[in-house]
Symmetry: C2
Subunit: 345 residues, 2 copies
């Protein structure tokens, strides 16, 4: 019933706790014979070191904290999977918390992780987060912090991102290449950096091609949740305001799918009447009809990379040689599908 301790093994073998501990860790100053005895008995008794004691002694828990805005989300669950699988390889466990896109909750979750004394923190910011003192709190405690996807440029820590601006530029350029003349954009909320960058990429592509930039063609997802409903809502608005739009670059696949559903309802054909490019390459997008042209965003890889960076920093801090912050940009790719016409020669 009671878990086996070093003491139990020591008593049965009539040696000291010290020796048992050292034997199990292959210290050079214990004989082969006693090592053998100890290891054998440890195995038969099914000894498992008490993590609580180890944590206290070593001042680390081999556990990291992860805060994401949402869990039920193709992109984020891929990131989570990437983080967990990489962490496991290095012997780390992951505690996951959700901010629900709320700054208040995010702050609370960070505090929770801090008081739990995790060895490091991975975070993707809530859309509403504009104050960053809770993040500085992490750094002040000397804990490594790595941000991914939804980042804050101001904070001095490593970041794993994609080049949203470039990806958006490519998406918009694709619409231009296939012959679109009037291109709208459904953008995300005002605050998140990637929502801003995607907008800027869209705008730059227009200007580089001598297209006029028309602010009335930019629709903001006002609810801020990048939902199916927002796509439908904006599609309705667009249909009312502008009947000459023949291409849309949309912030997120889900919003794009909402828009396509609404267009279908109104008899507007995709891609014949309107070409659509989404963003993220949710699995869903390859399965709907028409399949959605989109930007592939490497969630799994982002998760892996984020943990790897955090791991390096945790190791560095342990060795009292903190690493400089690093910004890693992951490649994206334009996935051409049925929602945009094929390229013209």
């Amino acid at each position: 019933m009671k878990p086996v301790t070093l003491k139990d093994i020591a008593e049965q073998l009539n040696i000291s706790i010290t020796t048992v501990s050292k034997a199990l860790k292959d210290y050079p100053d214990v004989s082969k014979k006693t090592k053998g005895l100890v290891k054998e008995l440890a195995k038969t008794l099914n000894y498992k070191p008490n993590t609580f004691a180890v944590n206290l002694r070593m001042k680390e828990s081999k556990t990291i904290g992860l805060v994401v805005p949402v869990i039920v989300h193709h992109f984020f669950s891929n990131i989570i999977k990437g983080i967990i699988s990489q962490a496991e390889k290095k012997g780390y466990l992951v505690i996951i918390l959700q901010s629900n896109e709320s700054y208040e909750l995010e702050k609370k979750q960070v505090d929770l992780l801090l008081s739990q004394r995790v060895d490091g923190i991975l975070i993707s910011l809530a859309n509403g987060t504009a104050d960053f003192s809770h993040l500085n709190g992490i750094i002040q405690q000397g804990k490594p912090l790595v941000m991914f996807d939804k980042i804050a440029k101001i904070i001095k820590c490593s970041k794993i991102i994609i080049d949203d601006r470039k990806a958006a530029y490519n998406a918009t350029q694709h619409l231009i290449d296939i012959g679109c003349k009037r291109i709208a954009h459904f953008r995300g909320a005002l605050l998140p950096q990637n929502s801003i960058d995607r907008f800027l990429g869209y705008k730059k592509a227009l200007l580089d091609n001598n297209f006029p930039y028309d602010p009335s063609l930019v629709y903001i997802c006002e609810l801020g949740d990048n939902s199916f409903e927002e796509g439908k809502e904006n599609a309705r608005k667009l249909l009312k305001d502008h009947n000459d739009v023949d291409g849309i670059f949309i912030n997120t696949d889900l919003v794009a799918i909402g828009a396509m559903t609404e267009f279908k309802k109104h008899g507007v054909k995709v891609p014949e009447d309107i070409n659509i490019v989404g963003f993220s390459n949710w699995f869903m997008s390859s399965v709907i009809s028409p399949t959605l042209t989109t930007i592939d965003q490497p969630g799994y890889k982002m998760g892996k990379t984020a943990f790897k960076q955090l791991y390096k920093e945790m190791k560095a801090i342990k060795n009292k040689k903190p690493l400089p912050s690093k910004i890693i940009t992951l490649e994206t790719a334009l996935i051409k599908r049925e929602s945009t016409k094929s390229e013209m020669e």
Copy 2:
């Protein structure tokens, strides 16, 4: 830099560590005055109890382990969300591990959680799991274990499930009600209980309606991953073997969507030629074309319920009054959409 400890507070106030500890926990045997002083200083110093020490002393970590077969999955990520949100309310953290549908990995993950000394474990079994000794290991250690969705009937622990058989029965009955005469079934792998139960529900509905049960109409997802590809594969086989099938009850939405895609490719119309009912009500199913008739499986609620049950059992074990195991069955609902014809009068 160094975190503040009880000792720091005690020294600054010239009182004992004991008194500081008691003051912070509102013990009755410390005066209001000292309580005030201690609490104030604790706040200004930003004192946070050292979780490692507390865990060691209290022999509990307020942390539970969660093992799921997959993370990137609409149903499971909903469950995860439910578990995390409920756990947070009770002050528990959740460590998530993934078995990747592999028995070996599942066993390893359970061992990991056990050696981490989590206070309890929630698990949904991998499809390949047929040996259950690792689960009995949990119970033998006196740790509460609650299984959900993919369960093993043999293990004596609480379980949160849906009535798969009844749900499958209703799905099949729906196909019969709308006039289908020859109904096929794409089932999941052979081992998982819910795959078995759904098959049995399908069969019972047929027999209750005096339909012949024809084993050649039951297609097994052989890869065992319930994927889009498996849906396409089975649809191809069905098209080759049976040209008279006018309804299919399919184990999982994703497989159903794969099948629909394949049918569309071959010019077979849904629901005109073949009616399809899926299972799980993934968000995706409400967005594809045609929208998919399916069984709604309450993932979020299942997660919440699973944690609640685990919490009760953890509390009970702490009070040395272990609770009897309990099986909780959650309600499902048939969601009628476009992939099945409307009911005949």
